[in-house]
Amino acid sequence: MPSDRLAVRKTYKLFIGGAFPRSESGRSYPVRSASGDFMANAALASRKDARDAVRAARSAFGKWSGATAYNRGQILYRVAEMLEGRRAQFVAEVTASGGDADEVDAAIDRWVWYAGWADKIAQVHGGANPVAGPFFNLSTPEPTGVVAVVAPPDSALLGLVSVIAPAIVTGNTVVVVAAEDRPLPAVTLAEVLATSDLPGGVVNVLTGRVAEIAPWLASHMDVDALDLAGVPDRQAATALEVAAADNLKRVLRPAETPVDWAAGPGVDRMLALMETKTVWHPKGV
């Protein structure tokens, strides 16, 4: 029986503001497996899609950054649960594009690791400052805002998770450009996010050409930070960093040597996308 049945294929679309639109440009591009077989047509995002995604991310920022850290941790853990439930699908997509099943397991575990940071990072990297005077003085790390991310091209799921999770766990919202040649796990991740109580717009996923979309994100005046993890080309990364200076975006430069995404990530990515706020108040009776 099963052999006679024609499979129902999935349409791989963008993920913007919690919805799954096609590109407004009406364009798509074929995604092929590591062995060259056609897998799907992914949406080819345009400048307009990128701007829509930034607007969605900005709209979501107030509520998400204002949620309790406990609540964000719960939602991120819920994402890990949903990832686990879709494990087989991720394995199929990741292995077809040249990865392996271990990458999926590592991605789920990475998500769990970051989920636990939600209500700890402020304790570890903030605190009371012993100033020389009768003042209460407290420093707290806060999310930077809207973060545009170019996901690593070589690690379609683990790399992707490793750049999204540290940004959103602290309250940032994200527009991510998926790995150009391996975008399918990103869209499936979006489906997971859409069913995990993550508010719409916290993560927005664009698929398409990095060279086409990234410059618009880098120069967008309502984007606060730019993660260039997925731009190994030095000239391209430099041009994006120059564009980012127009509103002094925080820029995470690409690593000089290829990143081992399976290695423990540390807290650097979380801290790079946070601002420290220090509040003073006099003491007195």
Partner: protein, 476 residues
């Protein structure tokens, strides 16, 4: 009613300003290859001295000296030894405090009351604070054995010349870096005095290098390939140029830039305290403060009373001789800055805001601007959007807390903010929502070496002060 005071000038005899200064490179004062620039006393327009306008060759020599010192002496030195040098510096600053305060007021124009009671004590405290970190870096939360970055190129502004030097040099040295620092064109003298302090402390040659000059010297330093770390305090415009110029390099950068801070006064605030805070927020250091409370947001219901009290208080401000111990507001730092303050103020009037200046007699010579407020200011007015960097306050009103937050955050800047209210829960709720790096509640313009300082958005990135201030000077 204005109180009459007899003049109480601080003596200038404690300072000895040379006719000209060289560059401080590799532990020695040396002639530079570049041209010469004059530094003047902004209160009198008297030429104080001539300094070098360092050129590319000078910057090269300074960076090379810093590199040698980093490789051979300062980098390998145990933290506990570096600490002792920094403690020495802190002590010498304390010993020479009066001289430094007078020199700062002469070169910068700020009142002696501020240079004596704020700037110089904070300079000493900053070195003292970071001295203690030098042998405890493994406990700072940046890994068990963090390493220095290398040679730091540091460019500082003219508003707090010696204090900004301390903010830059103390953490850099504590972490094991060496520095080349460029003081501002109009205020080089205390940095050169600091060079002598380094000599007195017997700091190894090349650990601290001071190159004087203007914007071009700063650009040469920032863009020098031998610099590993750039630290800049100054305008947002130059900050953006620096961000572009370091793109594609491995240089680490921290930028502490402009601001347009909202000082929010709610209807339950204690009016007299709030007025003191508003005055301190915008007229401290002639308003030459990046975190100045230059936008007063006052709740509509108390606006009339508050403004009346503010004008009464402003009428008592004593504007004049920076060396007079009674002076509240000193001289504008330069003719160029005075021109900018004037232009923006004229714009305020032409855009329809109502101007009121404190009735005070201004000296005939020197660069002066009376403390001024604009009322009837809308968010679209340029005086509500652009950093004036002078003693000029723009007053806006609001009705609800949500409106106050909306207006406070309606700026590309995000350096600081103030909140005045008796209600604790409101302070915490508003502080949470303000997108600014420093929030002063029922106080303003407080600084401490243990307290991190720095901005959100276009006010720059990175933090100076406290444990957080170490991060910029430690390798990743």
């Amino acid at each position: 009613m204005a109180f009459e005071y007899a003049p109480a000038p601080e003596s200038r005899s404690v300072v000895d300003i040379r006719e000209s200064y060289g560059l401080f490179i590799d532990g020695e004062f040396a002639d530079g290859a570049g041209g010469r620039i004059k530094t003047v006393n902004p209160a009198t327009e008297e030429v104080l001295s001539e300094v070098v306008e360092a050129d590319a060759a000078d910057v090269d020599r300074a960076v090379a000296a810093a590199r040698r010192a980093y490789d051979r002496v300062w980098g390998p030195m145990p933290g506990r030894e570096r600490a002792k040098y920094l403690y020495r510096i802190a002590r010498i600053v304390q010993e020479r405090a009066r001289e430094l305060a007078v020199l700062e007021s002469i070169d910068n124009g700020k009142p002696i009351r501020e240079s004596r009671d704020v700037d110089v004590p904070l300079v000493a405290a900053h070195f003292f604070y970071y001295a203690g970190w030098a042998d405890k870096l493994g406990y700072a939360g940046f890994g068990p054995d963090p390493k220095p970055v290398g040679v730091a190129g540091q460019v500082i502004p003219w508003n707090f010349p010696l204090l900004m030097l301390a903010w830059k040099i103390a953490p850099a040295l504590a972490c094991g870096n060496t520095v080349v620092l460029k003081p501002a064109e109009t205020t080089p003298l205390t940095a050169l005095a600091f060079a002598e302090i380094c000599q007195q402390a017997e700091l190894p040659a090349g650990v601290v290098n001071i190159v004087t000059g203007a914007g071009e010297t700063g650009r040469l330093l920032v863009e020098h390939p031998g610099v590993d770390k750039v630290a800049f305090t100054g305008s947002t415009e130059v900050g953006k140029q620096i961000a572009r110029s370091v793109a594609g390099t491995r240089k680490r950068v921290t930028l502490e830039l402009g601001g347009k801070a909202a000082n929010i006064v709610f209807d339950d605030a204690p009016i007299d305290q709030a007025v003191e805070g508003i005055v301190n927020g915008i007229f401290f250091n002639q308003g030459h403060v990046c975190c100045a409370g230059s936008r007063l947001l006052v709740q509509e219901s108390i606006a009339d009373d508050l403004l009346a009290a503010l004008k009464r208080r402003m009428s008592l401000l004593r504007v004049g001789d920076p060396l007079d111990k009674n002076t509240d507001v000193g001289a504008i730092n330069s003719a160029a800055q005075l021109e900018r303050v004037r232009q923006l103020s004229e714009l305020g009037t032409s855009e329809g805001a109502e101007r009121w200046s404190a009735p005070c007699e201004l000296p005939e010579r020197g660069f002066w601007f009376a403390p001024t407020i604009f009322t009837g200011v809308s968010q679209a007015h340029r005086i509500a959007r652009e950093e004036i960097f002078g003693p000029v306050l723009s007053v806006l009103t609001f009705r609800t807390p949500a409106e106050a937050v909306e207006k406070a955050n309606n700026t590309p800047y995000g350096l600081s903010a103030g909140i005045w209210t008796e209600k604790g829960s409101r302070i915490l709720a508003i502080a949470d929502k303000l997108r600014a790096g420093v929030v002063w509640a029922n106080t303003f313009n407080k600084f401490d070496p243990a307290s991190p300082f720095g901005g959100y958005k276009e006010s720059g990135y990175g933090r100076e002060g406290g444990r957080h201030g170490l991060e910029a000077y430690l390798a990743k």
